[in-house]
C-alpha cells in the first residue's frame, strides 16, 4: 500500500482541529499558526499528489483499503483519479487562502479555526472516497461545522435564517441521495458499498432509471441545481468570509462531484435517460442565475447568484455525457472554485473595512486597496469567460459538448456571458472606481499581506491554467476517459 498519503492529507486537518479546539483556549497564540501549518501541509500534499499522479497509468491511484464491516460490504477505501486530484488541489487552495483571509478573526478563534479544519477533513474525505458509505460518512461530518460557523460568525441579521436554511436544504439533499445509495446497495449483486465494484455491478436499466433522480438530484441540490438553489445565496451571504469561500468554492463541487461519481458513474443508463431534464434545469440555472445576479443590491448576493449560474454550466457539461462536456465540467469545477473563493475573499475584505455590502454605498475602493481591485477584476474576467483565463478554458469544451447534444442549450446559455459581463462591470465600476464615500475617507486601510498572498495565489492559478491549459487538461482527461468507458459500455 505504500505511504497512505490520502489518509494523511484527509486527517491532518482533523488532528489540527482537535488540537486547536482542546488547547486553543489556553494558548491563543498557537491557534492561527497551527491552522496555517496544517492547511499549508494539505496544500503541499495535494500538489504532490498532482505531480505524482501518473497520467499514462490513469485510473484510480493512491489506493488504500481496509475492510471495515465486511458483512455489509463497507470498507475504508480511498483512491483518486484525475478529477479527484483536481478537486483535492482546489480544496487545499481554498482552505489555505481561507485561513489567510480569516487571520484577524477576534471572536472565539479557537473554535473558528477548528471547525474550519473539520470542514476541510470532511471535504477531502468525500473527494477521496471509493466506498459509498464512507462517502456519506465524510459528507455528513460537515453538517455541524457548517451550521455552527454560519450561526456564530456570520452576518448578524441573517445568520440564523441563512444557516438553518442552508443546513436543512443540504441535509435534505444528502438524505435524498442516501435513499438512492441504499437502493443501489440493495440492488448490487455483491451487496456492497464499494464504488469500484458497483461500477461494474450491471444494474438493470429500470432500476437505474428509477433511482438515478434520487441520487443525482440529491447531490445536485448540494451543487445548487434549480429550483433547489435558494439556500446558496442566503447561506453564502450569511456566512463569514472563509466559510463562504469553502461553501461556494468547494462544497458545491462536493455535490456535483458526488453526483458524478455516484449518479452518472454508477447508474449510466439512468443518466442517459434523464439527461434532457438535467439540461433543462441546468440551463435555467445558467440564465436565471445571471439575470438575478444583475438586479441585486447587495454585493455578496451578486456573487452568490453568480455561483448558481456557473454551477449550471458544470451540470450542462455533465448532462452532455460526452468527452467535451465532461472535460469542460471538470475544468469548470476547478476554475469556478478558485474564482468564487477569490470573489468571496475580496467581498470579505471590503466588508471588514466598510461594514456594508450595499453597492450603492460603496465606491472608489481602488485607491485604497488596488490589489483587491485587480484581484476582483481578474475574478470577474474569469467569470465572464474571458479568453486567456481559466473560465474560458472551461466553458469552451462545455459549449462544444452540448452542441453535439442539444444545440439550443448552447445558444441560450451564451446569453449569460453578456449578462455576466454587464453585472460584473457595473459592480466593479460602482464599488471599486468612482468616488470614495465621505464616511470612509481616512478610515479604511489597505488589505494585509496575507490577504494579498491569498489573492495572488488564487489569481495565479486562474491565469496559468488559462494560458497553459495543458497543465490540467490531461489530468481531467484521465477521469473523463474512464467515465466514457462506463457510459459506452453500459
Amino acid at each position: 500500500m505504500g505511504f497512505p498519503i490520502l489518509s494523511v492529507t484527509i486527517f491532518i486537518p482533523l488532528l489540527a482541529g482537535l488540537i486547536i479546539l482542546l488547547f486553543g483556549r489556553q494558548r491563543q497564540s498557537w491557534i492561527r499558526p497551527i491552522a496555517l501549518v496544517a492547511s499549508s501541509l494539505v496544500l503541499l500534499l495535494t500538489l504532490i499528489l498532482w505531480a505524482s499522479y501518473s497520467i499514462e497509468q490513469a485510473g484510480y491511484q493512491f489506493i488504500e483499503y481496509i475492510p471495515w464491516l465486511p458483512d455489509l460490504g463497507i470498507s475504508y477505501h480511498l483512491g483518486v483519479d484525475g478529477i479527484g486530484i483536481a478537486m483535492l488541489v482546489l480544496t487545499g487552495l481554498v482552505v489555505f487562502t481561507g485561513v489567510l483571509v480569516s487571520w484577524n478573526i477576534e471572536n472565539r478563534p479557537n473554535e473558528f479555526f477548528s471547525y474550519l479544519m473539520f470542514l476541510a477533513t470532511s471535504v477531502l474525505g468525500v473527494f477521496s472516497s471509493l466506498d459509498l458509505f464512507l462517502l456519506f460518512f465524510f459528507l455528513e461530518l460537515a453538517v455541524f461545522p457548517k451550521y455552527l460557523m454560519i450561526v456564530i460568525w456570520g452576518s448578524p441579521k441573517t445568520r440564523n435564517y441563512g444557516g438553518m436554511k442552508l443546513t436543512l436544504y443540504l441535509f435534505i439533499g444528502s438524505v435524498l441521495a442516501l435513499i438512492g445509495a441504499l437502493a443501489i446497495y440493495q440492488a448490487s449483486p455483491e451487496r456492497t458499498f464499494d464504488l469500484l465494484l458497483l461500477e461494474n455491478a450491471g444494474f438493470s436499466p429500470e432500476m437505474q432509471r428509477i433511482w438515478f433522480p434520487f441520487v443525482f438530484l440529491g447531490f445536485a441540490i448540494l451543487g445548487g441545481i434549480f429550483p433547489f438553489h435558494s439556500w446558496a445565496p442566503d447561506g453564502h451571504v450569511a456566512a463569514p468570509t472563509a466559510i463562504s469561500m469553502l461553501l461556494a468554492g468547494v462544497e458545491m463541487k462536493v455535490g456535483v462531484f458526488a453526483a458524478l461519481r455516484v449518479g452518472i458513474m454508477l447508474l449510466p443508463e439512468g443518466a442517459k435517460h434523464w439527461a434532457t431534464w438535467i439540461l433543462v434545469l441546468a440551463t435555467i440555472n445558467v440564465v436565471y442565475g445571471a439575470f438575478i445576479a444583475m438586479i441585486q443590491k447587495d454585493f455578496k448576493y451578486v456573487i452568490g447568484f453568480s455561483s448558481v449560474s456557473h454551477m449550471g454550466l458544470v451540470l450542462i457539461g455533465f448532462a452532455s455525457l460526452n468527452y467535451d462536456g465532461l472535460l469542460g465540467a471538470g475544468l469548470q469545477m476547478f476554475s469556478h472554485g478558485v474564482m468564487t473563493a477569490l470573489f468571496f475573499s475580496i467581498v470579505g475584505m471590503v466588508y471588514d473595512r466598510t461594514h456594508t455590502r450595499d453597492i450603492a454605498s460603496l465606491g472608489g475602493l481602488y485607491k485604497i486597496m488596488p490589489w483587491a481591485t485587480i484581484g476582483f477584476i481578474i475574478g470577474g474576467l474569469v467569470s465572464m469567460g474571458m479568453p486567456g483565463l481559466s473560465g474560458f478554458i472551461a466553458e469552451i469544451p462545455i459549449y462544444m459538448g452540448v452542441w453535439r447534444v442539444a444545440p439550443i442549450v448552447a445558444i441560450i446559455s451564451v446569453i449569460s456571458i453578456v449578462v455576466t459581463a454587464a453585472y460584473i462591470l457595473l459592480v466593479v465600476r460602482k464599488v471599486f472606481f468612482g468616488d470614495l464615500p465621505q464616511e470612509f475617507e481616512g478610515k479604511i486601510k489597505d488589505i494585509t499581506i496575507k490577504d494579498k498572498i491569498a489573492i495572488g495565489v488564487l489569481s495565479l492559478f486562474m491565469i496559468v491554467i488559462g494560458l497553459v491549459p495543458g497543465l490540467m487538461v490531461p489530468l481531467i482527461e484521465t477521469g473523463v476517459n474512464h467515465i466514457l468507458v462506463i457510459l459506452g459500455g453500459a
Binding site: M384, Y399, R404, A410, I415, G470
Partner: protein, 510 residues
C-alpha cells in the same frame, strides 16, 4: 530568430507591460519613457518583418505553432501574409505614437501605460492568429484594456460610453463564438489550415452527425455567416450597428481614440477578409449586394452626421464611419467576385480589395492623426465645440498647417494617401456595384464638405479671445504627428511601396 519573429512581436508588449507594472509608481517620467521605449521594439521588429517578407510567395510566412488546448484542437498558431502585414505595421507604428501622445496624462500613469501595452498584444494577436479560437481569444482580450482606458481616463460621459462599447461588442461576439464552436466541432480542429481545407467540402451527412441541429448545412452556414458578419460589422462599424462608436471615440482619452479608430476598427474589416469571405463564399456572394448597400449608407450617413456635429471630436468620430464605409464597399466587391469566373470582375475586385486594405492602413494613419490633433487643441482650450474654437490659425500657425495637411489626407486630396485608396475602391467597385459606387461618390463629396467645415471651425473665422495666450504645438507633439504625416505623404506619392505587397496578397487571395 527569424522564425520566431512574430511571436516576439506579439509577446514583447505584454512583457513590457509587466515591466511597467513593476516599476515604482512615483517616477512618472521613467514609466513613460520605459513604455515608449519598449513599444518601439515591436515597431523595429515589424520593419524587419517587412523587409524579410517575401511577397512573391503565396500563403503565410513566419509561421509559429505552439500547442495550447490540444484536447479540443486549438493551438497558438500565428502567421502573416500580405494582408495582415500592413495591419501589424499599423499597430506597431501607432502604439508608440499613442504612448508619446499620452505624456500629459498625470493620473495613474503606470496603469495607463500597462493597459496600452496589453492592448497592443491583443490587437496584434488578432491580426496574426491562424487559429479560430485563438483569434477569438485575442479579439475578446483587446476589449478589456480599451474598456478601462475609456472608463478611467475618459471624458464626462465615459462610464456610459465604455459600458456601451464593451457590451455591444461582446453581444455581437456571442454569435461569433457560437459559430466558431460549430466550425471547430465539425472540422475537429480550430486550425485555419485545416478549416480552409475541409470546410468548403463539408458534406451534409458529416455535419449532421456532429451537430444535431435539425437544420440543413446551408441553413447553418447562412446563420453562421450572419453571426460572423454581425460581430465584425459591429466592430468596423457598419451602419446600422455603429451606435457605440461616436460615444466611445468621443469619450476616450486622446491616445485611446487614436488606437480605437486607428487599429481596433480594422479588426472587424480584417475579420471580413480573413474569415467571412473564405469560409462562406456562397453566402458572401449572395449577400454582397446588401453589404455594399450598407457600406454606401455608412459613407453617406457618416458624412452627413459628421457635418452636423458641433463637437470636433464627434465629427472626427463620424468621419471614421464614413471612411470605413469605403473599406466595406471594397470588401463587398471582393465578396461578390470570390468565386467568379469572369476575369473582368476579378480584376475589378482585386483593385477594390487593394483599395480596401490600403484604406485600412491609410485611415489608421489619418484618423489617428486627426484625433491627436483634436487632443492637442483640447489640452489647451478644454473645449471641443466648434463654435467656441475658431481663428486659431493666427495663434497657432504651425498647428494650423499640420491640421490642414492631415485633414486633406482625410479628405482624399490627390497626392496624399487617402486619395489613392479611395480611388482604388471606387474604381474597382464601379464595375461590380455601379449604383452603390455612384452614391458613394456623393459621399466623397460630402466628405470634403465636413472636413472643410472642421478646418473652418477650428482655424478660421473670428478669433475667440480666450485663446490668445495658448501655447503653440510643442516638440513632443510634433514628434507624434510627424511620422504620420511622412507616411501620408509617402503613400500618397509613392503608393507602390505598400500596394506592391498588398497586391500580391490580394492576387493570391483570388
Amino acid at each position: 530568430m527569424e522564425n520566431n519573429l512574430l511571436f516576439y512581436i506579439l509577446i514583447l508588449p505584454t512583457l513590457a507591460a509587466i515591466l511597467v507594472v513593476l516599476l515604482p509608481t512615483t517616477s512618472k517620467k521613467i514609466i513613460r519613457w520605459t513604455a515608449f521605449g519598449a513599444s518601439l521594439i515591436p515597431f523595429l521588429l515589424s520593419i524587419l518583418l517587412w523587409f524579410q517578407f517575401d511577397r512573391t510567395q503565396p500563403g503565410f510566412q513566419f509561421e509559429v505553432q505552439i500547442p495550447w488546448f490540444t484536447a479540443i484542437g486549438s493551438s497558438f498558431h500565428f502567421g502573416i501574409d500580405g494582408i495582415s502585414l500592413p495591419m501589424v505595421l499599423l499597430s506597431t507604428i501607432l502604439t508608440p505614437l499613442a504612448i508619446l501622445a499620452s505624456y500629459n496624462i498625470k493620473d495613474q500613469v503606470k496603469a495607463y501605460m500597462a493597459l496600452f501595452l496589453f492592448l497592443e498584444t491583443g490587437v496584434l494577436g488578432v491580426f496574426i492568429s491562424l487559429d479560430l479560437l485563438v483569434f477569438f481569444l485575442f479579439w475578446e482580450i483587446g476589449l478589456i484594456p480599451m474598456y478601462f482606458l475609456i472608463n478611467q481616463w475618459g471624458g464626462a460621459k465615459r462610464n456610459y460610453a465604455a459600458l456601451k462599447f464593451i457590451l455591444i461588442t461582446m453581444a455581437g461576439s456571442l454569435g461569433l463564438l457560437l459559430s466558431i464552436q460549430i466550425v471547430g466541432l465539425t472540422i475537429g480542429s480550430f486550425d485555419m489550415d485545416k478549416i480552409y481545407e475541409l470546410w468548403p467540402g463539408l458534406s451534409e451527412a458529416n455535419f449532421q452527425k456532429v451537430i444535431p441541429l435539425g437544420l440543413s448545412l446551408s441553413a447553418v452556414k447562412t446563420i453562421a455567416f450572419w453571426a460572423f458578419v454581425l460581430a465584425f460589422a459591429i466592430k468596423v462599424p457598419v451602419w446600422p450597428v455603429h451606435t457605440w462608436l461616436p460615444d466611445a471615440h468621443t469619450e476616450a482619452p486622446t491616445a485611446g481614440s487614436m488606437i480605437l479608430a486607428g487599429v481596433l476598427l480594422k479588426l472587424g474589416a480584417y475579420g471580413f477578409i480573413r474569415f467571412v469571405i473564405p469560409l462562406f463564399p456562397v453566402e458572401a456572394n449572395r449577400y454582397a449586394g446588401a453589404l455594399a448597400a450598407l457600406a454606401t449608407a455608412a459613407i453617406i450617413f457618416g458624412a452627413l452626421a459628421a457635418f452636423a456635429q458641433k463637437d470636433l471630436k464627434r465629427l472626427v468620430a463620424y468621419s471614421s464611419i464614413n471612411h470605413m464605409g469605403f473599406v466595406v464597399l471594397g470588401i463587398a466587391a471582393a465578396a461578390y467576385a470570390w468565386q467568379s469566373t469572369d476575369q473582368g470582375i476579378i480584376t475589378s475586385a482585386t483593385i477594390a480589395l487593394n483599395g480596401s486594405i490600403l484604406q485600412m492602413f491609410n485611415h489608421g494613419l489619418t484618423s489617428a492623426g486627426m484625433f491627436f490633433l483634436v487632443g492637442v487643441v483640447y489640452d489647451r482650450t478644454h473645449t471641443r465645440q466648434l463654435d467656441e474654437l475658431g481663428g486659431l490659425w493666427a495663434i497657432l500657425p504651425r498647428y494650423g498647417a499640420i491640421f490642414v495637411f492631415t485633414a486633406m489626407a482625410a479628405l482624399g486630396l490627390p497626392g496624399l494617401n487617402g486619395f489613392v485608396s479611395e480611388f482604388l475602391v471606387v474604381r474597382g467597385a464601379w464595375h461590380i456595384f455601379p449604383l452603390a459606387t455612384a452614391l458613394s461618390m456623393i459621399g466623397l463629396f460630402l466628405t470634403g464638405v465636413y472636413i472643410l467645415k472642421a478646418i473652418a471651425g477650428v482655424l478660421h473665422g473670428p478669433r475667440n479671445d480666450l485663446w490668445i495666450a495658448i501655447p503653440e504645438i510643442n516638440t513632443r507633439e510634433v514628434w507624434v504627428i510627424a511620422p504620420l504625416m511622412v507616411l501620408m505623404l509617402w503613400i500618397g506619392v509613392w503608393p507602390a511601396s505598400m500596394l506592391n505587397l498588398i497586391n500580391h496578397a490580394v492576387n493570391f487571395f483570388f
